[in-house]
């Protein structure tokens, strides 16, 4: 199946380090937060790729780097044969038109002083003003497009002159989605789009995203904390830990057959809706907290907390091992050689 799919976005060895300065006048750099520390993955056209991981593991940073909101420290993000990290401003703008974002907090991602119509029209206006649309759009055309989008995401057109604070959280998130759709993007990067919403509203918004994906064939990169959400919505899942990818797999395969000890722990922590299973469920409790991402690591990033760690893992960074066709895992236990005796 993977062979038929077209790779739409390629992330190669992406690094995103945030410098730590000493706070003096000259801001001497004394270290770096390694928020994203060398990750590679492909995104296929039309899929929903979920990203999971504990808080602070660099999920948001990953998609921000892909959207070039931070200039990545190193690596490539290839879209349409263009490396976005090295593209000049205009090319970047032109290509980025195809990559839009949905934000986590619908309350703060909409400007409180603009009407929803203006908010949804903003990307159109920006690209129109820069002459990057197919032709110069008239006000009328933009208006029509806004109404079309509002209809598509299920907001009453009559409310177009309302302000964000006059909407519920779910409606706001719909506005955010409409805004992301305005430029007909190929990829939408969604950073926990439902985690700020009530559970019942979450389902509605998730269904909307799924419908849009099916109807318009948009590719989604979808971050979520909630494993159930990820399972429900995504085709493939990336598991991240401390700025590194631990495991990439088809969603169902991952839930049935988690390989990485970290994934196992994550899945074991998620409640299961069946009370019988829930009672007998064995939880893997990880020791300690997520270590701080501010130092360079030379072994497995999960080494400190791994219940299955070996001496070998301490000093060797595991590459991605193929488990099956659509399943990769970064753990020395899956190497063909046995490392348990090595140091």
């Amino acid at each position: 199946m993977a062979d038929e799919k077209k790779v739409i976005l390629k992330v190669k060895d992406l690094y995103q380090h945030f410098p730590i300065s000493n706070g003096g006048i000259f801001k001497k750099q004394i270290g770096a937060i390694r928020a994203v520390d060398g990750i590679s993955f492909d995104v296929y056209e039309g899929e929903i790729l979920g990203i999971v991981g504990e808080s602070g593991c660099g999920k948001s940073t990953t998609i921000r780097s892909i959207a070039q909101l931070h200039k990545p420290t190193g690596g490539e993000v290839i879209f349409n044969d263009v490396d976005l990290c090295k593209a000049d401003n205009r090319t970047l703008l032109k290509e980025r038109r195809q990559i839009q974002m949905i934000f986590q907090d619908p309350y703060s991602s909409l400007d409180p002083r603009m009407t929803v119509a203006n908010i949804i029209a903003e990307p159109l206006e920006i690209y129109n003003a820069r002459g990057l649309l197919d032709h110069k759009w008239t006000k009328e055309e933009i208006d029509n497009r806004v109404e079309e989008l509002m209809d598509k995401v299920g907001i009453n057109i009559a409310f177009k002159n309302r302000y964000p604070h006059e909407f519920s959280g779910g409606q706001k998130q719909r506005v955010g989605i409409a805004r992301a759709l305005a430029l007909n993007p190929k990829i939408i990067l969604a950073d926990e789009p439902v985690s700020a919403l009530d559970v019942s509203i979450q389902a509605q918004v998730l269904n909307l995203i799924q419908d849009l994906q099916q109807e318009l064939g948009i590719t989604f990169l979808f971050i979520a904390h909630d494993l159930a959400v990820i399972q429900h919505i995504s085709d493939r899942v990336v598991v991240m830990y401390l700025g590194k990818i631990m495991e990439i797999s088809e969603a169902n395969e991952l839930y049935k057959n988690p390989c990485h000890p970290y994934t196992e722990a994550l899945l074991s922590a998620a409640p299961v809706p069946d009370p019988e299973i829930e009672k007998t469920r064995k939880r893997i409790v990880l020791e300690g907290d997520v270590p701080s991402p501010d130092k360079e690591r030379f072994g497995c990033y999960f080494y400190d907390r791994c219940p299955k760690k070996m001496e070998y893992c301490k000093n060797h960074i595991p590459p991605m091992f193929d488990i099956s066709e659509n399943h990769k895992c970064a753990c020395w236990h899956y190497d063909k050689e046995d490392h348990s005796k090595e140091a």
């Binding site: 986590q104 400007d111 409180p112 009407t115 990307p123 109404e147 057109i157 309302r162 302000y163 006059e166």
Partner: protein
């Protein structure tokens, strides 16, 4: 499918687009509920209207000196003449009492002496006036001869003193009246020379001399230690540096003033002569007078002592009402312009620091910190002492130092806005910095800036008043609330109205402004803890 739809075709039952309520509208709604704030707003608007339209009210000029009307007390019913007479009578009764001609009884004598010992002069006067009038009505007291002649003198004055105000001067050319103000220096000088039968050359030299003299005085007033010779030399240089236009306007004003004085004198003679001929002439009246030397004038003739001073007069006989109104204009103007200037500087510095961040931010903010550390008022006082004490310099001095807080505030606001997701969203859509600032940052910080400004204005006015009170601010003949109060304190017990009315005006304004500011803050920030 929607492209065929017309605009505003809708979907809800009422077939209308629902109008949204913006945050500003909501804030306004909340403000309307706050009675004190609305009251404050109304008061502020009234003040502003009065200050702006001051020229349209029938006020006496705020700098018109009528020496005989010194320190008249405020009165709605009495004219200045009656007040003068009353003052004279108070004086005469007091003398009579001292000479023992006016007898009020031993107990009252003791009371009056006690008042005198405690500087309660006003009480003495009003008591003696009342007692004297009562005794005179009852026939127990008679004016002496000298008293009578003094009173008669005053009455005569009241009857016969007239004033002339020139509202326009015209030169009659070929049956057409041309306003003298529209002529240039050369033409005006010709007229004046012919009026006095002077030689033009003589006039030119005397004008030049007077302009130089004015320069010398100006230089001396700025620097009291400069010697007369140095000042004269400096004035020569300044005069030589006058541009054509400078000279033209100054010389013209000089000669125009001379003509006006001359015309006034002549017109006054005519008016007085008319009054003698026809004592029943009603005043005031307006008239177009032809003067002998080919000039005509619009004049307003008034009886000097028919004037009414609703808020009294000051030590030069200037109308307090007019001075307070024009003083309000100066005070509010300085408060407003100063606040605007300081806010512009503050926004510029603050947004630079906040938006660029990093080293720029560091240095700008350290600079602000250092400025904060300096004794603020002292700096302004030093600046005012060094530079020319004009109104412009006053507000520059205030504005230069008062942008600090707003710069910090705007910086904080911009920094927090910079990390807002909607700004990030705009950036992810490729919005330019200019667009982000104008469409997102400014609209979102405006409310805070407006609130801060309204709270800032009273502060500014207080500072201006403080400086003027110290004599470092607004200089005569201009007035401001502070300078009016400053002028009044020394004679507070004798002439309390000079202190009370300006203070009241100022206090009411400051209260109103503070209520408004608080109301605005609560309206824009409903979570604020300071709500009523």
């Amino acid at each position: 499918m929607f492209s065929k739809k017309k605009k505003n075709v809708t979907t809800n039952e009422f077939n209308q687009i629902v109008e949204g309520t913006s945050l500003t509208k909501e804030a306004w709604k909340r403000l309307k509920k706050n009675k004190m704030a609305i009251l404050g707003l109304i008061v502020v608007i009234i003040y502003a209207l009065i200050a702006i339209c001051a020229d349209m009210f029938p006020l006496y000029p705020y700098d018109e000196v009528v020496t005989e009307h010194q320190h008249l007390k405020p009165s709605f019913s009495k004219t200045s003449g009656e007040l003068m007479l009353e003052k004279k009578m108070q004086d005469l009764y007091y003398n009579a009492w001292k000479q023992g001609r006016l007898v009020v009884g031993e107990e009252n004598d003791a009371m009056i002496k006690n008042w005198i010992a405690n500087d309660k002069t006003n009480k003495v006067w009003s008591y003696l006036l009342e007692a004297g009038e009562a005794q005179r009505a009852a026939g127990a007291f008679e004016w002496s001869k000298s008293d009578l002649s003094a009173i008669e003198k005053v009455e005569d004055k009241i009857q016969n003193d007239v004033m002339v105000t020139i509202n326009g001067l015209y030169k009659n050319v070929n049956g057409k009246n041309t306003n003298l103000k529209k002529l240039n220096y050369n033409e005006i000088a010709d007229i004046y020379a012919s009026m006095l039968g002077l030689d033009r050359a003589v006039l030119d030299t005397s004008v030049e001399k007077e302009l130089k003299m004015a320069l010398v005085n100006e230089i001396k007033s700025k620097d009291s230690e400069i010697s007369t010779e140095d000042a004269t030399a400096q004035a020569e240089i300044d005069f030589a540096n006058f541009s054509e236009k400078d000279f033209e306007t100054k010389a013209k004003a000089n000669v125009y003033g001379k003509i006006e004085t001359q015309v006034k004198r002549d017109a006054l003679k005519t008016v007085k002569a008319n009054l003698k001929e026809n004592p029943s002439q009603t005043f005031p009246y307006e008239e177009h007078q032809e003067l002998s030397y080919g000039i005509s004038a619009d004049i307003l003739a008034t009886k000097t002592h028919d004037r009414r001073y609703y808020l009294g007069t000051d030590y030069l006989g200037r109308d307090m009402l007019s001075r307070i109104v024009y003083g309000s204009r100066v005070s509010i103007g300085i408060g407003l312009v100063g606040t605007i200037t300081s806010i512009l500087i503050g926004i510029l510095v603050g947004s630079l620091a906040g938006y660029i961040g990093g080293r720029v931010d560091y240095y700008l903010m350290r600079f602000v910190d250092v400025m904060y550390g300096l004794p603020y008022m002292l700096l302004v006082i030093i600046m005012m002492a060094i530079f020319d004490r004009s109104i412009i310099n006053l507000f520059i001095a205030l504005a230069l130092i008062s942008w600090l807080t707003i710069a910090r505030m705007v910086r904080g606001q911009i920094m927090s806005l910079k990390n807002q997701e909607y700004v990030e969203a705009a950036r992810s859509m490729g919005a330019s910095t200019a667009r982000i600032i104008t469409r997102h940052m400014i609209p979102n910080s405006l409310s805070i800036i407006i609130v801060y400004s309204t709270i800032r204005i009273p502060n500014f006015i207080m500072q201006e008043s403080f400086l003027s009170f110290l004599g470092l601010g607004v200089q005569a003949p201009y007035a401001s609330w502070g300078s009016l109060i400053g002028d009044a304190v020394s004679s507070m017990t004798l002439y309390p109205w000079k202190l009370i009315y300006p203070s009241l005006t100022m206090v009411i304004f400051l209260f109103a402004m503070n209520f408004l500011g608080d109301g605005l803050r609560d309206a824009f920030d409903p979570q604020s803890k300071n709500q009523l």
